[in-house]
């Protein structure tokens, strides 16, 4: 059974799906961008509850890839790089993409080990179970993250 968190509009949501050693993250939304945002929330949720992360600092980022599938991995890896280098967690994402390029603003705060009690450290988004697709009017963006 996937772990599901639903956001306000009741359409966009994230899920975790099981993987042997790591964790599968899945974002679902009305647009590809929204699905990517939800996948990033699922990434944060692999570490701690996103509700515990205050959006007090903004970090602008951008990335690109050779195809839509790898763009998802590149996006999540960009978030992971900022988490790792800045020792931050993020709970809010504003994202705009055009074709195979995207730019975004990540909002979050520095890790507070007591308040966040982070469970695992994401190492990188893999290309396993990688899927970006539109089905029944909703976009799904998913992959396995090495933790």
């Amino acid at each position: 059974m996937p772990l599901i968190a639903t956001t306000q509009n009741n359409r966009a949501r994230w899920e975790h799906f099981p993987h042997g050693a790591d964790v599968g993250v899945r974002g679902i939304g009305a647009s590809r961008d929204e699905a990517f945002v939800q996948a990033a929330l699922a990434l944060t949720a692999a570490v701690c509850e996103p509700e515990r992360v205050k959006a007090v600092r903004k970090v602008p980022v951008s990335c690109e890839a050779a195809d839509e599938q790898i763009l998802l991995a590149a996006w999540l890896n960009t978030v992971i790089e900022e988490m790792s280098a800045r020792k931050m967690l993020f709970s809010r994402f504003s994202l705009q993409s055009r074709g195979l390029r995207l730019s975004a603003v990540l909002e979050g705060e520095e890790v507070d080990r007591l308040r966040h009690a982070p469970a695992v450290e994401p190492k990188g988004a893999t290309l396993t179970a990688l899927r970006v697709a539109r089905e029944n009017g909703l976009w799904t963006a998913q992959c396995v993250v090495d933790v």
Binding site: P18, G20, V47, N77, V120, L127
Partner: protein, 476 residues
């Protein structure tokens, strides 16, 4: 795994015969019980590995194999550069040179029992562990270059350890062939404050006692007896290695069509060994190996600090340090002649038999130590490579207990705080900032490590020397 689809080669060797796009067969080394317990994905992934260009002999899965990405965790494959062979960033993984280091202490279990609480607390205070932790060093770009070039030797020169430590580390503490200029700005940025940090997930530092000796004569010759205290640490190349893996998996996946490689799975991203991309990856990966060796060296010195405060009579010396996520150029006999091969081990330990020149002189007569890390509630094992190991899976053995349950499922099954209490009642102190992390790493989420070590021996991959039980476990 459905054993009906496998040909049984022997009691502990199972073959997936060559078919379809497979260039070689795949072989799983394990007991029947462990094979039955393995995820079908292991068979699928090791079959995919067998399809890669230039693969030699067979694709192998170790007794602790489980579902990974690209390669299964516990996957071994060797590639011939003269036969169109490849190097695969996915075949090494994100945590490049993740490995285990075992330290002798000169202590007996009863010495630790008296001060166990104090020792656990000081280790958890001194060892930076968990998400967001930073080390005591901040590295400039120049410092990073020196570290990436020189590995544990750099750390010793900076005062973290003694020159004799280097004798007991694979590659004598320094992986040759590193190209620091291939390490990106992003990877450097992730590492500049992370030297000497443990990480999280399945990484740990444990104080263990020798609970069982399988070969008394050899153990005595190596200075071990039941009740001895050992410190083991499991961690890798931290953010730098993760970033190198991330970047090259993407680059190789995007470049595969250009090389005419039709990947069965994109995480098997690879490049022909003769290509500039492969040479860039090998240079970056070797630099990341040096990062891991330096990291474990710094952590060793931090452990020494904690022990010096609590048990000043302790003398922490390195028994051995072995990496289990690597690609190394090694000579192996295939088809009656010795050939240089690029051996990928992803979640697998090198297990050279006695006499190999790569082994430290003091261990050359015994075979390469294989350090199998277990769980915080069960056991770890030390094994040794044998002459027979050299004829199996390019001298490779298991690396850990191997997960039997996803993190997701484990977190639903166990409560971290309850586990900590239960383990304390059994005399095992666990220090961690995250109770969810503890639940995800519950001993029950792993295979039976004793069965993995036994299968490793029965399959002829390595022979058991010591069984170690945890007394203190520090996790991120």
């Amino acid at each position: 795994m459905n054993i009906a689809k496998l040909d049984r080669r022997s009691e502990h060797a199972w073959e997936i015969p060559k078919r379809g796009r497979m260039r070689v067969p795949a072989v799983v080394y394990a007991s029947e019980a462990l094979v039955r317990e393995m995820d079908e994905k292991v068979a699928e992934q090791i079959t995919n590995v067998a399809c890669l260009p230039g693969i030699v002999e067979a694709a192998y899965a170790m007794p602790d194999a489980h579902w990974g990405y690209g390669f299964p965790i516990g996957g071994v494959a060797a590639f011939d550069p003269e036969a169109g062979g490849v190097v695969s960033a996915g075949g090494v993984g994100f945590d490049i040179s993740c490995g285990v280091r075992a330290l002798k202490t000169g202590l007996r279990a009863k010495d630790v029992e008296r001060v166990r609480q104090h020792l656990a607390r000081r280790l958890s205070e001194i060892i930076p562990a968990g998400v967001g932790s930073t080390g005591e060093l901040h590295l400039s770009d120049d410092d990073l270059d020196k570290m990436l070039e020189n590995g544990a030797r750099w750390a010793v020169e900076r005062g973290y350890g003694r020159p004799e430590d280097l004798d007991r580390i694979e590659e004598m503490g320094r992986m040759a062939g590193a190209i620091p200029s291939e390490i990106s700005r992003q990877a450097r940025r992730r590492q500049q404050d992370e030297m000497g940090t443990l990480g999280s997930g399945n990484h740990y530092m444990e104080v263990q006692r020798v609970s069982l000796v399988y070969d008394v004569k050899t153990a005595e010759a190596l200075g071990f007896s039941p009740g001895d205290v050992i410190v083991s640490l499991h961690c890798g190349s931290r953010g730098l290695g993760h970033q190198v893996g991330t970047e090259f998996v993407q680059r190789m996946a995007e470049a595969a069509p250009k090389f005419g490689i039709d990947l069965p799975e994109r995480d098997l991203a690879c490049a022909p060994l003769q290509s500039p991309l492969a040479k860039a990856y090998l240079g970056a990966m070797r630099a990341a190996i040096n990062c891991a060796l330096a990291n474990r060296q710094i952590l060793t010195q931090l452990a020494r600090r904690a022990f010096a405060e609590v048990l000043p009579q302790a003398e922490l010396t390195i028994f051995y340090d072995v990496s289990h996520n690597t690609c190394k150029l090694e000579e192996h006999e295939v088809g009656g002649r010795r050939r240089p091969l690029f051996v990928h081990r992803k979640g697998a330990t090198r297990a050279f038999g006695p006499g190999r020149p790569e082994l430290p002189e003091a261990l050359r007569g015994f075979g390469q130590p294989v350090l199998i890390g277990g769980t915080m509630g069960t056991a770890s094992h030390i094994l040794l490579g044998t002459p027979e190991s050299e004829t199996r899976a390019f001298a490779s053995a298991a690396h850990g207990a191997g997960r039997a349950m996803s993190r997701h499922e484990a977190a639903r099954h166990w409560s971290g705080s309850r586990l900590v209490k239960e383990l304390a009642q059994r005399g095992i102190l666990v220090e961690s900032p995250s109770m969810r992390g503890i639940a995800e790493e519950a001993p029950g989420a792993y295979k039976d490590v004793d069965a993995v070590a036994l299968a490793t021996e029965k399959a002829g991959l390595a022979r058991r020397l010591l069984r170690l039980e945890p007394m203190v476990c520090v996790k991120g």
